[in-house]
Subunit: 379 residues, 2 copies
Amino acid sequence: MSSSYPIVDIHTHMYPPSYIRLLSSRSTVPYIHQPSEDPNADPRLIILASDDDPARPKSARGRPVDGTYSSFDQKRQFMQAHGITCSVISLANPWLDFLDPESALPTAQEINDDLDKACAENNAQPSGLKLYAFGCLPLSAPSQDIVQEIHRLKTLANVKGVIMGTTGLGQGLDDPALDEIFAALAATNTLVFLHPHYGLPDSAFGGQETIAKSGHVLPLALGFPLETTIAVSRMYLAGVFDRHPQLQFLLAHSGGTLPFLAGRIESCVAHEREFIANGGHRQGPKRSIWEVLHSNLYLDAVIYGQPGLKAAIEAAGSVDRVMFGTDHPFFPPLGDDKNSKWLSVESNISAIDGCFPQNEEAQRKILGGNAVRVLGLDL
Amino acid sequence: MSSSYPIVDIHTHMYPPSYIRLLSSRSTVPYIHQPSEDPNADPRLIILASDDDPARPKSARGRPVDGTYSSFDQKRQFMQAHGITCSVISLANPWLDFLDPESALPTAQEINDDLDKACAENNAQPSGLKLYAFGCLPLSAPSQDIVQEIHRLKTLANVKGVIMGTTGLGQGLDDPALDEIFAALAATNTLVFLHPHYGLPDSAFGGQETIAKSGHVLPLALGFPLETTIAVSRMYLAGVFDRHPQLQFLLAHSGGTLPFLAGRIESCVAHEREFIANGGHRQGPKRSIWEVLHSNLYLDAVIYGQPGLKAAIEAAGSVDRVMFGTDHPFFPPLGDDKNSKWLSVESNISAIDGCFPQNEEAQRKILGGNAVRVLGLDL
């Protein structure tokens, strides 16, 4: 891909050095393990509970974590190989969810400063490649610390929003205790990139033994998007978007499965006896899920196929609400040729091309224009 | 809706009298409870584990089960109100999953005979409304009993396939012990209507308390389709469709979320280290999920919105593989006007109309033509 307009990747992860050190200091999930028997081997990254299979040696758990996770040079090489002109990098899951309340705020500050500084250093170079970042929040800290960091992030020139998982303060994103946080995010016009990590309980897939037969396919292909769908549906049903109508979320993996299930959600809400049980006075969310999709939600275009991408665009209500992403450095080529174009990226690009074969304006919006407008990127 | 071509509802449930008697004889899920304090009150149907909330009196658990569940007259009234000319009725979940091995076969035989006879009696009338049925299988019985019933069903003139849940013999549909059953289904050219019932573990939704705040919305809107998606993905990953390439499944609720996630499944399979770990010899499913969608799977059109329906048709590969359904008698109008058109039906019909505003041939196929062809209906 080579073009005269900006190609912006809004779903691309980095572990900055401070985060690598943090994970390397741990021995429970999430952690990084350096195999001692082979010091030249890539360290292993164990981030999912299902990765930490005690039946395997630690050197075979999780996935190899090579330089693509932490090297800004390799990020730029990847961008150049795919014609990407700007990456909005974000910490990969599970972010800071696992920190104790005392260390959460200083750790978040350190990592966010790291990210901002790395972007600034990159953007001062004449390469033409731009980097911006989604910050992370100290969600295990007291609420005032979280709110403080939300406001501080607005002073970091290269931070353009925050990335967040689905657990919130520990009780999910429909937790009323989050109202203060959501109010601060809305008041500061901070876009929240909602990303899965925890998937579904193993029993949903028939248990660990069944899951293991196909490696990570069930947790990654299904668990991740279903987790996102459940999280945003719980927010919707609990009235979060009614109480915070200015809240703006960008949903990973094209909304999980929300675009496909929005009609069923609408129908189930309309037919729910619980919502009209109170003397005929209608309870439940005040707006339809479609209205929330059209005014509070953006979707990335990380869906690897035309049927899904078309549904995402149609459910979002407009081609203006869907943004290209790669999920780099995950889903690398498995062969030896690490520098070739990545199948995972090419399949997302070809889906965009296939949806709009004769419409460069629509392609341009999804590939970068929407991100420039929504995030206020200086390109 | 009124038309000169057949309108066939392939997703419409009935509890024949023998099944009502069976549920009424039970006091654990699934069961029917007749409130003793008000003999005029509709009995309550408690079919989901989440329905059986001990904090509520039994008379307020589950949902009222009125004549729409068991009355063929009311089924015909519903069909006439919506212009449906043929219904392929099926037992509602949880079918016979809960029976002990000894009673499963005779119960299945009794219910299947009941269904076939009711269809025959209806079809002998001059009303112009036709009924056919999907039979049920005694899945808790020994395999030879199940195979015997699969073959016997081919002798019942009005039975056009079978309905099945996601548990199979108790271990899911990727259980190798099902190979004998799948071989019999394929050899007899028996279409399997795959339907959810068990949803996801409560913890996937944040627990029972969170679920209860929005009644049945989370288990029904999300749990049901996610269960179907997981079940068919497990079959795919385990090579069931490779071993039984003639197997034909019709997936409820437009495939759960399979059409939206097929691209992600394909990508995760392509990037799964487990599948190439064996000395470079590729493991895992032999065909792409798209090929399986195009040759082994049909989808109903019970998805309540255009974005989902379009994705279903595109993922299915053709408008020839998607079939209209209503999910009657579930999702009735909640107001007093029980005889008006049902919102749940109208939203599915308007999605079909909206997808093909100028294409009566496509509408005709989805609304009935495909069912006539695939099931061999005599209309």
